[in-house]
Amino acid sequence: MTHPHLSAEESASFDRNTIDYIQRASATGLYEIRGLGAKRKLPHFDDLLMLGASLSRYPLEGYREKCVTKTVLGTRFATKPIVLDIPITIAGMSFGALSANVKEALGRAATAVGTSTTTGDGGMTSEERNSSKTLVYQCLPSRYGFNPDDVRRADAIEIVIGQGAKPGGGGMLLGQKVNPRVAKMRTLPAGVDQRSASRHPDWTGPDDLAIKIRELREITDWEKPIYVKVGATRVPHDVKLAVHSGADVVVVDGMQGGTAATQLTFIEHVGIPTLAAVRQAVDALEELNMTGKVQLIVSGGIRSGADAAKALALGADAVSIGQGVLFSLGCNSDTFIRKGQHIDATADYAAIGTKPGFCHHCHTGRCPVGVTTQDEVLEQRLEVETGANRVKNYLKTLTMELTTLARACGKQDVHHLEREDLVALTVEAAAMAGVPLAGTQWIPGRD
């Protein structure tokens, strides 16, 4: 018997994913909604390398020769700035997107390592406030659950203009995750698909944001730092306008930033990579002479101590992690942990049409490892103390990597990392980060 030669040439433009997308749209008549962030390959911190010690720069010894990681945020106007032990925070993610157990686990982990967590587009839970020593309270266009008591018991307020996954879009939570508790917190009928506003209800534009920031300051007696968070698009303008509007801290979230649910078309096609955004944000602050006076937090695909080190070297005061801590809790793991035992969850991934390592199905509410779910059974798969330990370990590892790299560059303080400690592997990364292409003096686009 002869076997015909199998000819299988895939199209780059119409690859399997694209064919899948077209067929899905044809079947449903609705755009695809998914979780996590941009999955396509983008210029990122991996394209930067650090210039460690040499004859011209001397390293520090580990342990005995200290490397300071203390980070202060919100010094501009607030009388009670945020003081953190490390320059790595946990980004805003909602109760609703995540389970209550997860919010509690994150709070405990953050407290254990001396950093902050952030509420999301659903309001503040008592689990998070009680477990998280330093809690940043988001004020979003939807204003779900937003109330003055929580404003007063927060440590900082973060006004969200947008996030990296969907700049220009509002929050989204599908009906299967709007369980009675979530519904009550958000003042929605249980089970409906939540529609969220993309603009704030009572202000539009930086001139009116200035007045809104003042209102929040008046309400909190000028004690608490006010952060302004933008999804990375027109970064130089947005950072300058945030400063003009009176922000203490600016948070810039690149397109790799995650979400629990939004339209795919947003995730992959709107916003700029975090690498490009960091440098633009830093330059904007420098041009306004606000470096060190208004702090910059960068997020969107921060995964490792190396990412944190490079972001700090480029000029960020801190980085914020969303997806990374979820992976730490077990997102995309083939098992979940129950009483110290690993239990296989592969079948549950298959049931929602995916597999470990490829899952972005947060929007379904059927998270096989109990992270992005409100299902009473599934959410038990994330044990609070186990999860807290894992996130604590992850953050500690990040911090150790960060200080290792900083010491290797001769720094006694991670905030002494500077852009001259970096070179780029590609022309794109060199241009975006504004650092020379390795082996050359060339920074594309800069004289």
């Binding site: 603009r199 539009t204 534009g205 001139d207 009116d208 200035a210 300058k240 003009h244």
Partner: protein
């Protein structure tokens, strides 16, 4: 973004108070616009005279040299009133030849406005500093349009401050952000409309300039603007004989009007109007969206 202010004296006896009342209104909008400010004043015309407002982009020029150049070119009787980087040139010509001369010989001196009644000032700095520098408090006239700027997309330079002008005795200030200014610019440039900056407000101004060049009255031009200009805006327009005020259909950007028998005052926030004489008895209202309001002092 910005703050806008406008004042029109309905009662001629109040013309001499125009500047005095305007300065606190402008300074009241500093929080909305700390970067730069501008003011266009419409005063009594001198028969046969054109007023040209000029500003040097980089520093204080040698206005004597400018004066000499005009004299040498034999362009009629004129007078140069200079103040630092700024000057008003009064001429008994229509001003076109003087504008062309300066453009050719002193390209860093930009023409801010031309007309029989308008005088225009804009600069970077706080509104209070600019009001003091150009002595806005001394202005007299029938009506004025002012603006304080917090730059959005284009740079903080004097030429990007508002008001923008078109033709003669016409100016525009804007609070808001247009979302298709580049498209508008690319539509207008082939029609011979010249742009000085990349500022979105200028795109709106040039659009109206084009429509008026094509014969539309101000109202008809603004009506067409509702279709052509995308984004959020409150526009305040100054013309030879009055003011026009309009908000886009979403009306996200604020505006408030205080009107008495003696004046009509416009601002982005009531704070700016709170100290005007008689404001406690004024009719106070917010302009409806997508509606053109007019006040004239013919």
């Amino acid at each position: 973004m910005c703050g806008i202010v406008g004042l029109l004296m309905k009662n001629p006896a109040w013309d001499e108070r125009l500047g005095e009342l305007l300065v606190p209104m402008l300074v009241g909008m500093t929080e909305r616009g700390p970067d730069s400010a501008g003011m266009a004043v419409f005063g009594k015309p001198t028969p046969g005279q054109t007023r040209l407002s000029f500003f040097h982009l980089h520093g204080e020029p040698d206005w004597h040299a400018v004066n000499t150049a005009i004299v040498d070119a034999v362009l009629g009787t004129h007078r140069v009133d200079a103040n630092g980087r700024h000057a008003i040139i009064h001429t008994d010509s229509d001003g076109e030849a003087i504008r062309a001369l300066l453009k050719e010989r002193f390209p860093a001196i930009v023409a801010l406005a031309a007309g029989s009644r308008i005088q225009l000032y804009k600069d970077i700095g706080t509104p209070a500093a600019i009001a003091s520098r150009y002595r806005f408090g001394d202005f007299t006239g029938t009506h004025a349009v002012g603006h304080t700027r917090m730059a959005t997309e284009s740079a903080v330079t004097p030429d990007r401050a508002h008001p923008f002008t078109a033709g003669r005795d016409f100016c525009l200030v804007h609070n808001g952000s247009l979302s298709n200014p580049h498209l508008v610019r690319r539509q207008l440039e082939p029609l011979g409309i010249r742009f000085d900056t990349d500022n979105d407000t200028e795109a709106a101004c040039r659009f109206l300039e084009w429509r008026m060049r094509e014969g539309d009255a101000v109202d008809a031009a603004i009506e067409k603007g509702f279709e052509a200009l995308d984004g959020f805006f409150t526009f305040l327009i100054g013309t030879a004989d009055g003011l026009a005020l309009v908000r886009d259909p979403f009306a996200c950007k604020p505006a408030i009007v205080a009107e008495t028998d003696d004046y009509v005052a416009i601002s982005s926030e009531f704070r700016s109007l709170a100290h005007l004489p008689g404001v406690s008895h004024a009719k106070l209202f917010e302009p409806q969206p997508r509606t053109i309001y007019h006040w004239s002092r013919a």
